[in-house]
Each structure stands twice: as C-alpha cells, then as structure tokens.
C-alpha cells in the first residue's frame, strides 16, 4: 500500500514537472519521462495520421493511370509517393513511443485503428484529384501547421517536413482547379461537381465541434494540439471560401456568408450524422479502401516472407 502511495506521489510530481516543461514551451523527446496517457494519446494520433497517409494514397493513386498530360502524371505520382513517405516518417515517430509497425498495421487492417474520414469518399472524376489537393490538403495543412508546434519533438519535426511537401500538393491542386474552372464547359462542370462532393467532407475532416470533442481539452493542455477543431475549421474556410468564389465556383452551402461584425465566416449546419457514419465504417468507400489495403498486404505476404528467408540465409553464410 505504502509503495503504491509512493508511486502515485512520484507520478504526480513527475507529471507536474512534465507539465511545467510543456508550459515553458520545451519539446518532449523520445525516452523522456511522460505520463502514460500522453504516450497513449500520441500513439493514437500519430498512428491514425500514418494510416491516413497510407490509405490516402488510394483515392488519388487510382487516377495515376488516367492523368491527362505527362506533367500531371509526373506530379501525381510524386504526390502519392510523398504520402507514402509521410506514412513512413509517421510510423517511425510512433515507434519512438514504443509502438511497433506490425502492431500498428494489425490495428489498421483489422479496422481497430481509425484514419481520416475523408478517404472514405469516392474519387469519381479526374477533377477530384485537383479538389483533394486544394481542399483536403489545404485542410490538412491547417491542422498540421498547428501540430508542427506540438510538444512531442519527433511528431513536431515530422510535421514541419510534411507541411513543406503538403504545401506543394495544395498548390498543384489549386492550380488544377483554377485552370479547369476557367476551362471548357465540360471541365467547368466536372470541377464544380467535385466541389459539390468535397466541400462538406473537407469541413468534417477537421473533426467534431469543440463541444463534441472530448479529447481536445487534455490535448491542448499537453501542447499536443494548440488550437481547437472549430478554430482550425474557421481558418480553413476563411482562407479557401473567398478563393473558390473568386474562381466562379459555387460553394454548396446556401447559408455560408461572411459576418462583418464578428469577422467570421458563418457556415450552415454540418451533417454530423454523416460524419459519424463514415467514422464508424459506414461511409461510401470504407469497405473498398480498407479492402484494397488488406488485399495489397495479403498479396505482399510472400514477398515479406522471401525477404526474411533471404536475410536469414545471408546471416547464416
């Protein structure tokens, strides 16, 4: 009993010191003492982020074979490759907290781990590639710029690197959307349709309203998040909406307007039922996306066995 009390006392003291470090703006590094809940939250967030990058290769990767110019094909292969690279840094960042790639992969492929809801929407046309770049990567950059300030060093540094690449993804998407918005009638129709389908899911991907986000206060206190979901969403709309409208596109929210008094964009109600359906696995492409990842994993099993077999033979000679 005494021992447990001592441990609790120690824990409290260490937690206080840990929180003081965060308050001073210090980075927590791999191997530093941290509360178990901090470590768990980070593994949850970082691995979820890694899975999102990995599965996020699919909706755009599907369009690589159909890219309409050599330049677009080159850009798109490079972009989807960057997503694989981001997945790789993030899995490594989570490994610094004691998670293994195998455990994370298992949680991902069995559906236990979550990933960003946005990748469960279909990419129906080539214009979706542009819209994903502009809106989805734009929303992701907002979130990731915040996470680059995060208190955990390895995650923060991964975010700095990822944000630099995401900025290029965002730029190519925007360039494509603007070109098609001023293009032929077929191109204009295609790009408007992509906006109609991606606007609301892009707002949703920034997470539930603050009132419905139970993890946020603790994450803010520990410097993992430095802004709330609603704050980030507001920044995203303020940046994107005027540019979409200037391109002559229609945002599919009749209530969206800029409120002069508060200096805020006011948007119509978000369909959170849809969001939770998608998060719980019932979105339009959940089964297809996870199915494609599982298939690739199963098809690759013999390759991974061969690598092990080769490594063992190489060691024994």
């Amino acid at each position: 009993m005494t021992k447990i009390n001592e441990m609790t006392m120690n824990d409290e003291k260490q937690t206080a010191e840990f929180e003081a470090r965060i308050a001073r703006g210090e980075k927590i590094e791999a191997g530093d003492w941290m509360p178990e809940a901090y470590r768990k939250q980070l593994i949850r967030m970082i691995s979820q982020h890694a899975h999102s990058e990995y599965i996020g290769m699919l909706p755009e990767g599907k369009w690589i074979p159909h890219a309409p110019s050599l330049r677009r094909k080159m850009i798109l292969i490079a972009k989807v490759q960057d997503e694989a690279g981001h997945g790789q840094y993030l899995y490594h960042a989570a490994e610094t907290l004691g998670a293994t790639r195998e455990e994370m992969m298992d949680a991902f492929l069995t559906g236990k781990a979550k990933y960003s809801s946005i990748f469960n929407y279909p990419s129906d046309t080539w214009a979706d590639v542009g819209m994903i770049g502009w809106l989805v990567d734009g929303a992701a950059i907002r979130n990731q710029t915040m996470l680059a300030q995060c208190s955990y060093g390895p995650y923060s540094r991964a975010m700095v690197r990822i944000c630099a690449e995401e900025t290029f993804h965002h730029k190519q998407g925007k360039e494509m959307v603007l070109l098609y918005a001023h293009g032929t009638p077929k191109q204009r129709e295609m790009v408007q349709d992509a906006l109609n389908r991606y606007w609301w899911p892009s707002l949703m991907m920034l997470g539930p309203h603050d009132a419905d986000s139970p993890n946020t206060p603790q994450l803010v206190r520990w410097g993992i998040k430095t802004k709330t979901n609603d704050e980030v969403r507001q920044e995203f709309i303020a940046e994107t909406a005027p540019e979409l409208l200037a391109a002559g596109l229609t945002i599919p929210d009749p209530e969206l307007h800029f409120d002069e008094e508060s200096g805020q964009w006011i948007h119509g109600p978000i369909d959170w039922d849809e969001f939770w359906q998608v998060v719980r696995g019932n979105g339009p492409c959940n089964a297809e996306r996870l199915g494609a990842r599982r298939q690739a994993h199963e098809d690759g099993a013999w390759v991974r066995e061969a690598l092990n077999g080769y490594a063992q033979k190489a060691l024994s000679t």
């Binding site: 074979p65 292969i77 790789q88 494609a292 390759v303 066995e305």
Partner: protein, 250 residues
Amino acid sequence: MNEAVTGALTSRLTALADDELILAQRNSEWTGHAPILEEDIALANIAQDELGHATVWLGLLEPFSGRSPDEMAFFRDAEDFLNVQMVELPKGDWAFTMLRQYLFDAYEHILIEALLASTYQPLADAAAKFRGEEMYHLRHTHLWVERLGLGTDESNRRMQDALDILWPAAGQLFVPLPDDHLLVHEGIFPDLAILQDQWVAIVRPHLTAAGLTFPAEIANTAARGFHTEHMATLLADMQLVARWEPDGEW
C-alpha cells in the same frame, strides 16, 4: 543529316520514348499497392524517372515529328506506338514486375553507356543526364532478383514463372528498326547485336546465381509496332481523360 537519317532517328526516338512511357505506366499502377510501404516509394521513384526520360525523348522528337510530347502520348493509337511488348504486359505479381524492371534496367544501362558516345549531341547529353538514375534502378532491381530468387521456394517459383515469360520476350529489345543501320553507320545509335551480347553477359550470371534456370531460347523477334492484346486497354486507360475533352488544356 539527310532525310533518310532523320526518318530513322524519328523512329528510334519514338521507340526509346515508348518503351519508357509504357513501362512507367505499368509501374505506376503499383503506387499504393506495393508489398511494403518502402517499395511504394521506390517504385514510384523509378516510374517518375522513366516518365521523365520518355518526356525528354519525346521532346527531342518534336522538331522531327511536329507533335508535342502530350500529343504523342495521348493522341496516338496502338499501331503507332513502337514499344516492345514486354513493357505493355500487365504488371503481374511483384516477381514479374521486379524481373521485368531488372531486365529492362540492364538493357538501359548498357544502352546509355553506348549513347554517351553518340555523334548526335542531344542523345549523348540525354544519356549523360540519365546515367546516374539508371545505375540506381539497376542496383535496386539487381538486389530484388537476388532476394526473390533465393528467398523462399515460393518466391523462387514465382521468379522462375516470370523468367519463363520474360526471357524470350526481352529478345525483342534487340530487334533493330528497319532503318537503324543508317544510325549505326553515322555513329548516332549503337549496334543492338553488340548490346545484346553485353546484356547477356550482365544478366545471365546474375539470374543463374539467383537460382533460376533459362527456358529454351525462342526469342521474340517481332518487329516493334506489333502489340499484344493488352496494349489497346492500356492506352484506353492512359488516354481516357485527355480524349474525353481533347479541346481542354489539362
């Protein structure tokens, strides 16, 4: 350069571009579906390099053909493509993709070394530019051949199945175009018969060391321009969006 040589160079540049373009198309189909995340990255890199080379070859071709690289890629039909058949075959399993890439990389490696001495400066310049990338590709696929050939019984069997198809198919890489001799005479392009000997000297010992056996040598000697049934569907996929709105700027 007289008209006959220009014509020969036009066909040869088309063949160089089409091999790389179609192989890049097949390799890029793996992006997001590779057996390990690290290979999604590596193969996407190889596909980008090939696509880059195709773009350079098509650019060199433009003054002769009068058609832009995009027009050449997206608005030609199968019969106008001069790639070898092995690059248009479906991607198959990882053994097939890696072995195809290895056989092609070894060919491209010696081709590029030979092109460094081309009397047509743009070809020599392009070869100098590609040289480093190709060394890296060959190193990468050389190692994969070894790992899969010697890994497990299953990986060896899959590699053998791939070699049974690809060894004869690769023969077509060394079939000259009808007017290639004009280019060889001018020192613009190397003699493919010499390259073939160099290629065999590189790949044969390595494939043998990887535990693979060679099928009877009935090499594919079809002229370039004849395609498998897979080419039409490959092009339908590749040209889908560009041809959906041919008046658009993409």
